[in-house]
């Protein structure tokens, strides 16, 4: 096998991206746990963890640039690098949103009171979590089948998002909220907005993995 050094570097790149995905996923999981349990300390850790994600982002970008400049990658190798380059941006954005959610959790400082049915919100949280986890999985495994399910799942998330938002707006409009609750609702609106964006980035990652594996580009609708 020729170019062993190059192949090792390429493998390292994939491992690093997967690892970045893993810590991003952990942040997502942690922040959602913190949200559920009003664990400000855990939320604080998530905020700190964002730096680690950003560092990973810079490190992997440098790896990609060096591979591009020095190794003239072609074909799938080229697509892996292109995908990784773009994907770390998605991960970094997910990390940012996670930190934003964590800040909301810290700001609220207490368990939130949700003025609407919790079941849809919980479903949204669970869906986003699994989407992020699956997006990392698709990259690590090159699992195109899994990635193909993302758009449909994203549609469901969009529906849940809209439904939860609508319900909250209705609640506000009907004056069902106390003054304290209004602030919580505002925070919650941000949080579910962030979750919806995280899901979008997860879909991006899925599409990129499809391109990486198959060469055909898929674009967001």
């Amino acid at each position: 096998m020729a170019r062993t050094r190059y192949i090792r570097k390429l493998k390292e790149l994939r491992q690093d991206v997967t690892e970045m995905g893993a810590i991003t996923l952990r942040s997502v999981e942690d922040v959602l746990t913190a949200l559920e349990t009003s664990d400000a300390a855990l939320a604080q850790r998530v905020i700190v963890n964002d730096d680690a994600i950003n560092k990973f982002d810079r490190k992997i970008e440098a790896q990609c640039m060096s591979l591009l400049a020095l190794e003239q990658p072609m074909a799938k190798d080229l697509r892996i690098i292109a995908t990784s380059l773009k994907m770390i941006t998605d991960l970094e954005r997910i990390g940012d949103f996670t930190a934003d959610i964590a800040e909301e959790v810290v700001t609220m400082g207490k368990p939130i009171r949700i003025p609407v049915s919790a079941s849809k919100f919980n479903e949204l949280v669970a869906d986003v979590k699994s989407m992020v986890a699956d997006s990392i999985e698709t990259y690590a495994q090159g699992n195109v089948q899994l990635a193909r399910s993302f758009e449909a799942r994203d549609d469901r998330i969009d529906y849940l998002y809209k439904d939860v938002v609508q319900n909250m707006v209705n609640a506000l409009a009907q004056g069902k909220c106390s003054t304290e609750t209004v602030a919580d609702v505002a925070s919650l609106l941000f949080i579910i907005r962030y979750l919806e964006r995280i899901a979008d980035h997860a879909v991006n990652i899925g599409n990129r993995v499809c391109y990486m594996e198959e060469g055909a580009r898929r674009y967001l609708k």
């Binding site: 096998m1 020729a2 170019r3 072609m74 074909a75 799938k76 080229l78």
Partner: protein, 253 residues
């Protein structure tokens, strides 16, 4: 593939003695475009372009089957006038090979052997050809100097000018920049890019980046077979064949 087809190769097989160098090659070469041929050494790509101007005829024991349709006729037919064919399909070689004559005489060589004696006409052809090969400005004041005193890159462009002087339709280039430094190489590549407006160019190269830079279509040869033929971007970004993938990512060995 859009646009006109200049050369259409059908079921081409070629043997040197008992060794089959080309196996059932089918390819359509587009007109006024650059087609690159890549593949590991000995894969048949040089043999393939030498078939197009019948330079393989110089090798003993060569035999071939199939068709190479150019201007409506099969040039592999035994009644083909190879001398006339080579006037229309010219070749540039790996090593710049100017004759040990003056720059002028190098360029005038082709027109002279084709019967042009008039000094004024020759002057015009030489100037036009040297301009066409983007070397006129560098040599216009030293046309009577020996061509061997030019740098390698200049020699190669002179060889291209020499070819242009016989007004071919197709330019075959057998690794035209492999003996040159990067600057000379990029000048040749720029020249190729310019030339494709008027000529159909087929270039054999070991340098995949060069193929990627200059060509619109790329063909990958392996062990005498045409493994994959696609637009250059497709071939390098998303090859269909595993062999191509392995070759362009450098995983052969």
């Amino acid at each position: 593939m859009s646009g006109e087809i200049e050369i259409s190769v059908k079921n081409l097989n070629l043997w040197f003695g008992n060794f089959q160098a080309l196996k059932n090659v089918n390819i359509d070469i587009p007109k006024n475009a650059v087609t690159a041929l890549i593949g590991p050494s000995g894969c048949g790509k040089s043999t393939f372009i030498k078939t197009l101007d019948r330079m393989n005829d110089l090798v003993d024991n060569v035999k071939f089957t199939g068709e190479v349709i150019y201007k409506g006729r099969n040039i592999l037919n035994s009644d083909t006038d190879v001398v006339a064919l080579r006037k229309e399909i010219g070749m540039v070689f790996q090593k710049p090979n100017p004759f040990p004559k003056s720059i002028f005489d190098n360029v005038a060589y082709g027109p002279r052997v084709h019967g042009i004696r008039d000094k004024k006409a020759l002057n015009e052809i030489v100037e036009r050809s040297l301009k066409g090969a983007a070397i006129w400005d560098e040599v216009k004041d030293r046309l009577n100097e020996s061509a061997l005193r030019l740098s390698g890159g200049q020699q190669q462009r002179l060889c291209i000018a020499r070819l242009l002087a016989v007004e071919p339709d197709v330019l075959l280039m057998d690794e035209p920049a492999s003996a040159l430094d990067p600057i000379a190489t990029s000048k040749i590549e720029d020249l190729i890019y310019e030339l494709k407006k008027e000529y159909t160019i087929i270039i054999v190269t070991h340098n995949m980046q060069q193929a990627a830079r200059v060509s619109s279509h790329t063909a990958f040869f392996f062990l005498g077979e045409l493994v994959e033929y696609a637009s250059t971007i497709d071939l390098f970004e998303r090859p269909r064949e595993k062999k191509t993938e392995d070759y362009v990512t450098g995983k052969f060995g």
